[in-house]
Subunit: 249 residues, 2 copies
DNA sequence: CCCAAAACATGACATTGGTCATGTTTTCCC
DNA sequence: GGGAAAACATGACCAATGTCATGTTTTGGG
């Protein structure tokens, strides 16, 4: 189920140590929002985009900071995180190359970021000031409609996750996370579907609303049952179908 | 905190038995999306909008049905529900007069509804075929930007709810629900803030991801602690601040 | 106004998952 | 390649919440 994504996601994924250079043009080609722009508008756009690199412990932005820019992930993985005063964290979404963020309301009125954006490893981000973004949308109703579609999809995702958090057990939530990541980003290998991003038990715990210990216990069970293998750096789904069945009861 | 909403929400809220007639124009005045349209476009819009009434046990649409229309709540309350094969339900959102739904991707490509839309009592819904909606957005980039803002807000709401479901205890989730409803829709009265919609323990359970019994127990405790009073038909928040503190630890 | 249905309530018990403690393995950086 | 830090692992215990059973109160339609 992930095979049709391979040729696209491979060159944009940060691999172990060496990272092939990615042109901005090659990225924009893959993003529907930019594909529909006229040649002229797309040239103008390139003027307004700037690229920034971040490392493991940086913040792209923090919760509460004013939201001034529209962002696109160019390389690497970015996580959207909310945290509580007592140190607990909840990872809302992992953004992959081509994903947009802050394409919404906060970019227009004076609102602030509702959560942190943090790199998972080395990432490269394109950004554009909201005024340039805003005027691009005004010139291109079709682009605005692409943003509406994108936001609609993100909303449905968030609502689906709501349902899972509200109704499912921890093992089902974890199975849903793994099959989702496998479907979106997995790379087919002989043994199964490999997840291309580093993902610790702690990372998973933050994504499914459970403690690290609980996730470790469940992953140990999954490993005993030959559903998965490996740890953070090399996580492979051995039996996608059985995992999927567990997730959707 | 709810006082500034009173003059607006009162005439549009379905009251106990008699419901004052509401003109479509009066509703559209309050919806940012329509306020920015030219007089001419707004006239055209009125041609394309049709009104439908639904009662307690109807479905406005069901999960899986093709998504053909853009909707606006005119009167009453609509709930967005997802359910599982084994009969459990999760209420994602309560929509009030002026709220939009299906303003997203599903309205453009051939996608289907990701959940049910069900009335909570008698409601009146305006709808517009996606082709008319689509062309209105193309003619009015500003309208498209309003939709982007609206969807952005809905996404933030959904993400905030994600965080609450992932990290908070049932009593905190319930306190968060009550203060949220109180802030958005509450009506100030002598004893406290009354919630204007009928809301059973079961309804609340479906909104916070808990069982009816758990919600009954927590509500009994809240009642003993003089945080709230009343049941479904007349629910009053007696101590908003304490409830808010409980919610946000 | 009456009565059936829905909503609310409460207890006993089972299960899930959190907490804390302690130990092993893996990773990664110098 | 060696050592500290991070990640993984497991047990004991307990708090939170689900499940099931049973009973009372409230509501709303005829």
């Amino acid at each position: 189920m992930a095979s049709e994504r391979d040729p696209l996601s491979k060159p944009l994924t940060i691999s172990s140590s060496k990272r092939p250079p990615v042109s901005i043009d090659a990225l924009l080609d893959r993003v529907p929002l930019f594909n529909i722009l006229s040649r002229q508008d797309r040239q103008r756009l390139l003027q307004d985009l700037s690229e920034t690199r971040y490392g493991k412990n940086d913040f792209i932005f923090r919760e509460g900071e004013p939201s001034e820019y529209f962002h696109i992930v160019k390389e690497g993985t970015v996580k959207c995180v909310k945290s509580t005063s007592d140190g607990k964290e909840c990872t809302l979404k992992m953004l992959m190359p081509g994903d947009l963020f802050c394409c919404d309301a906060a970019a227009f009125d004076g609102a602030s970021h509702p959560g942190n954006a943090q790199p998972m490893g080395n990432v490269s981000i394109l950004r554009m000031h909201k005024s340039a973004y805003f005027s691009m949308l005004k010139r291109n109703p079709d682009a605005a409609i692409e943003v509406i579609k994108y936001l609609g999809n993100r909303l449905h995702e968030a609502q689906e996750k709501n349902k899972i958090l509200a109704l499912d057990r921890a093992d089902q939530r974890l199975a849903a996370l793994l099959t989702d990541l496998g479907t979106r980003n997995g790379i087919n290998e002989r043994q199964g579907i490999r997840l291309p991003m580093r993902l610790t038990r702690q990372d998973m715990a933050n994504m499914v609303g459970a403690t690290t210990e609980t996730v470790i216990r469940i992953m140990s069970r999954f490993k005993r049952d030959r559903l998965i293998s490996g740890t953070a750096n090399r996580l492979v789904i051995l039996d996608f179908d059985r995992l999927k069945t567990l997730a959707s009861r």
